[in-house]
């Protein structure tokens, strides 16, 4: 099947003047696997659109960016790009014309990817059916629409260069580092931004606020990060969408369904080893609110009435179905958005080959007031050993206005 696919595209490769070796089946298969690691399809596919044909509206703090068509269509895609053109985009954030790409395309991460891997991805993208889909690539408002401004941004925040392995670390750790810091671009969501939209290097992977979700701390921090997870838990989570105590939902659901669940176990293990071994950083846990606090008492009553049938009185949840809330780091992130919005708008877990069910959290926003949600969320954040700052009704109100029409 794949071979037949390849034969069809040989003329295409010739026509495109590709530098990648058109006879190399291995390159294409490897490129497809690498494109899966990069989860290219997620941003480069519009809702319901042709895969890789672009047109997804990415919301950034600076405005909306429409993602480009990266199928080998000459008119509207990257069909006229050479492998050098493609490598320049990946490594330098520049188009063949020399004009600048925005870092919504995570070239500050992709610059770490080896030339060989970039060539393999290029070879794979050349095998896609060319899709004619013109995308308006100039949707940012002034002054951000001035692409030349990226010269300054790059000078300040962009450190080009391929990944350099740390000889003091294991090969597995370095493989994990290469994937997380490069193609996986995990930090694009999990690292806080500065006011210019660049990842703060000194807070790498320490959690971020993005699109009204909390992308949690994924350092080895005990309170807010992966400190309580074993390396096997991380592998299990990335592969199946769940651990014994938690289920992925929100944006991470898409990452798992499209990308990590399709990656080889060895790469997932390398990622896990890297995340566990590179260290812990976080703000540390506050003291929990006492159970006697009136907010806790109100929250407890709502929890018993509304939540405990599934999540259990002791916050223990049900394996494979309903996340455990006791000890759940999503519940105790400093930025409580994920917890609040799941109560307001509901959510659905990842569906993978291992666990296809994808159970849902129902939306409860229609019958719980801002104050009630604040109370129950505060209760969850401060019960069964959990400890995190209380949530106010204003925080809930503010988030509700932004997520109430969100589809997820």
């Amino acid at each position: 099947m794949r071979l037949r696919h390849l034969i069809v595209l040989l003329p295409l490769l010739a026509a495109g003047g590709a530098a990648a070796d058109p006879d190399s089946y291995i390159d294409v298969a490897r490129g497809k696997a690498l494109a899966t690691v990069g989860d290219c399809i997620a941003c480069h596919t519009a809702k319901g659109g042709t895969p890789f044909a672009g047109g997804l509206a990415l919301q950034t703090p600076f405005g909306t960016i429409m993602t480009p068509n990266i199928t080998p269509d000459t008119a509207t895609g990257i069909g006229s790009w050479t492998v050098d053109d493609f490598a320049r985009a990946m490594h330098e954030g520049r188009r063949p014309t020399g004009s600048y790409l925005y870092p919504a395309f995570p070239y500050p991460y992709y610059t770490r990817v080896t030339r060989a891997d970039v060539e393999a991805i290029y070879a794979y993208l050349r095998t896609l059916p060319p899709a004619n889909n013109a995308v308006n690539r100039n949707t940012l408002p002034f002054p951000f629409n001035i692409r030349m401004s990226m010269i300054g941004w790059n000078m300040l925040f962009f450190k080009p260069g391929e990944f350099k392995a740390d000889p003091k670390r294991s090969a597995e750790f370095n493989r994990g580092a290469y994937l997380v810091e490069g193609l996986g671009h995990c930090g694009a969501c999990h690292t806080p931004f500065n006011s210019f939209g660049a990842s703060k290097d000194d807070k790498f992977l320490q959690g971020n606020q993005i699109d009204n979700w909390a992308a949690p701390n994924i350092t080895n921090d005990l309170h807010a990060g992966l400190g309580k997870w074993s390396a096997d838990d991380i592998v299990q989570y990335l592969k199946t969408g769940q651990t014994r105590t938690s289920l992925a939902s929100g944006p991470m659901r898409d990452v798992i369904e499209n990308s990590t669940s399709k990656m080889p176990d060895t790469d997932l293990k390398a990622i896990a080893v890297y995340l566990k071994e590179r260290g812990a950083a976080g703000a540390g846990a506050p003291a929990p609110l006492p159970a006697s606090d009136p907010r806790m008492q109100v929250g407890q009553a709502i929890f018993a009435d509304t939540c405990s049938a599934c999540h259990a009185r002791d916050g223990g949840g049900v394996e494979h179905m309903f996340p455990r809330l006791a000890g759940n780091v999503i519940a105790t992130q400093d930025y409580p958005a994920s917890l609040i919005r799941i109560v307001i708008a509901g959510g659905r877990a990842a569906s993978t080959n291992a666990f296809p069910t994808a159970p849902a959290m129902p939306s409860l926003g229609y019958r719980l007031s801002d104050a009630q949600i604040a109370a129950v969320v505060t209760f969850v954040r401060n019960s069964w050993g959990n400890a995190a700052a209380p949530v106010t009704a204003e925080t809930v109100h503010d988030l509700r206005s932004r997520v109430v029409h969100a589809s997820d």
Partner: protein, 587 residues
């Protein structure tokens, strides 16, 4: 004129329990499978939100997820001499509508029929002589034995996660289970539900009477479970919104919880909803199906060619589709010839209510198949000689719910409204307990299904006509069972009891049970059956028909466990057919 679509390997008519299981098992082998479902897509996450699923008015009273009579209904009469009239509001039974079928709204009682049930005609004649068989009966042995079906019962129980206690593992009787059940290879996949106070009383009283009570097998499951397809379920919360509702807790086995999450991931599977199959198309010689014709939601007609047609609609509608498609000879009660529509059967319901003092039964803490049961009076587990009837009943003490709108049992003679009614409801709610008998219905010459000569559906096709009544044998059996129930209720300590006899003639208005069986029965003789022992049409070898329409007569149990077992039995036969197409049994 129907537009023709590209061919598929398999077309599945109806995406309920049987259709989803077959679609999954076949598409995972790489076959191109399309399922055509008359109703809408239904999914736990989007359709059965925990905040809105427990809506008695919407689902139980207004019958939200059931078939609308406008989509399809039946005409009904009790005897061939009457003129049948259309059912304009479903009552006695409630066919499902949409993906999941009746598997969405069932209570979840998941039984294996007893070994004797499968050879009831031979068995009864051997033990009692021919004269025990009732007048006009067409009782016939099943073409499969319990032992042949046992591995397939097991397979279905594993997929559905059934909660229960085995009574007989490899011939060893297990304390606390049903000692009358056929030998099983292993126990249920999950332990029984927690029983309530009423079940405690029942178990104690029945044991004291020398009977053999046990927790009944339940598809509302007791603990978290992941089935062989990777689909996960959560423990039942005893909310009591099972029958007529979709389960919001992922606790009731259904196509939604047990099969569809895996099925929808299969790249060679496709479902088309709101598409009603109107005909199974046949080759010119009538010996092979070429596919089906269906009408989509816009009223457009399509032809879907396929190599294999699997008829997986509700039992009644399987029969009608065969009649409309001209597959098999229609049954004629006057001549006794023909097979399609023959041996339609149903189920009896009778029992007793007990009124207690100083108790709180808490009927709201319930599940559709929570309950204690006994089989001492089922099948031929007791001596029928003195009674002069064939058949039996499973007897249960159960609360399926204590819901506010419709659960308000009152003593007979209570006014239907006003202060006295309110007082009786209040007095009785916590103090009433029922012991019920769900009984077998044999097959008879004059209980059958055919096409109505007068009434048509919106597409201009004749409605199906149901001719059915409870015969003297069933009345005698069910009323004798009611007395047994009353004895148990008294032994439980009821201060007063009232007997619920079988209502005759059968009436289509009050809800009784959606256990409609027969009409396309499986058998060993093409003169008395539509399907061979592999659920394959005798007449058209690439048509297989699933469901309770294949039962030669009905046993004293809910049918779904046996429907599930037959589906896996049929699946193995389909695999054999695919290896070497043709009739699997030579007539």
């Amino acid at each position: 004129m129907a537009r023709r679509l590209p061919r598929k390997d398999v077309v599945v008519v109806g995406l309920g329990w049987t259709g989803s299981i077959l679609a999954y098992e076949l598409s995972r082998t790489g076959l191109e499978v399309v399922a055509l479902e008359r109703g809408p897509w239904r999914d736990t996450a989007t359709d059965f939100n925990i905040g809105t699923a427990a809506d008695e008015l919407r689902y139980a009273v207004r019958q939200d997820i059931f078939l609308r009579p406008k989509q399809e209904t039946l005409t009904m009469r009790n005897t061939p001499s009457q003129t049948a009239l259309p059912i304009r509001k479903w009552g006695s039974f409630l066919p499902g509508n949409g993906v999941g079928g009746a598997g969405v709204h069932w209570n979840g009682q998941t039984w294996r029929f007893l070994p004797d049930d499968f050879r009831i005609r031979s068995h009864m004649i051997e033990r009692y002589g021919e004269k025990i068989l009732p007048e006009g009966n067409q009782i016939q042995d099943w073409p499969v034995s319990f032992d042949e079906l046992e591995p397939y019962y097991d397979k279905f129980e594993q997929v559905a996660g059934i909660s229960g206690k085995a009574g007989n593992i490899k011939g060893q009787i297990q304390a606390g289970g049903n000692p009358f059940e056929g030998a099983r290879e292993r126990d249920y996949p999950t332990p029984p539900l927690k029983q309530g106070y009423a079940q405690e009383l029942f178990t104690k009283a029945a044991s004291g009477m020398g009977l053999h009570p046990f927790p009944r097998p339940s598809a509302n499951i007791s603990i978290a479970y992941t089935n062989p397809y990777g689909c996960s379920m959560a423990p039942c919360t005893y909310c009591g919104f099972c029958e007529w509702f979709g389960c919001a807790n992922y606790s009731k086995a259904s196509p939604q919880t047990c099969v569809l999450p895996a099925l929808v991931r299969e790249p060679t599977f496709e479902a088309r909803t709101e598409c009603e199959v109107t005909n199974i198309n046949l080759s010119v010689d009538g010996k092979m199906a070429t596919g089906v014709t269906y009408v989509d939601a816009n009223g457009e007609e399509w032809e879907q060619p396929a190599d294999l047609v699997l008829v997986c609609a509700y039992s009644l509608f399987n029969v009608r589709l065969l009649l409309l498609s001209g597959i098999g000879k229609p049954y004629d009660p006057a001549s006794g010839e023909g097979v399609v529509g023959r041996n339609y059967a149903y189920q009896t319901g009778s029992g007793a209510q007990g009124f207690f003092e100083n108790v709180q039964f808490n009927p709201f803490a319930a599940a559709g198949s929570l309950g204690a049961a006994l089989d001492d009076y089922n099948s031929d587990n007791f001596d029928h000689g003195p009674h002069g009837f064939v058949g039996g009943a499973s007897i249960t003490c159960a609360y399926t719910n204590g819901r506010p709108i419709r659960y308000h049992p009152t003593p007979r003679g209570t006014p239907n409204w006003g202060g006295a009614w309110k007082k009786a409801v209040k007095d009785s709610y916590q103090r009433v307990m029922g012991v019920g008998a769900q009984g077998s219905v044999m097959s008879y010459r004059n209980n059958y299904l055919d096409l109505d000569p007068t009434y048509k559906d919106p597409l201009g096709r004749p409605l199906m006509r149901m001719t059915f009544d409870y015969q003297p044998n069933e009345q005698k059996m069910a009323n004798w069972m009611a007395e047994r129930c009353e004895e148990i209720a008294k032994a439980m300590g009821a201060k007063s009891t009232q007997l619920n006899r079988l209502g005759v003639p059968w009436n289509v208005v009050p809800y009784q049970t959606t256990h409609n069986t027969g009409g396309a029965v499986m058998g060993s003789d093409p003169r008395t059956s539509v399907l061979n022992r592999y659920l394959q049409s005798w007449d058209v070898s690439n048509v297989f028909v699933m469901g309770a329409s294949a039962f030669p007569q009905n046993a004293g149990y809910n049918p779904t466990g046996t429907v599930g077992a037959l589906t896996y039995w049929g699946l193995d036969a389909i695999f054999n057919y695919l290896k070497s197409p043709g009739a699997l049994v030579q007539p």
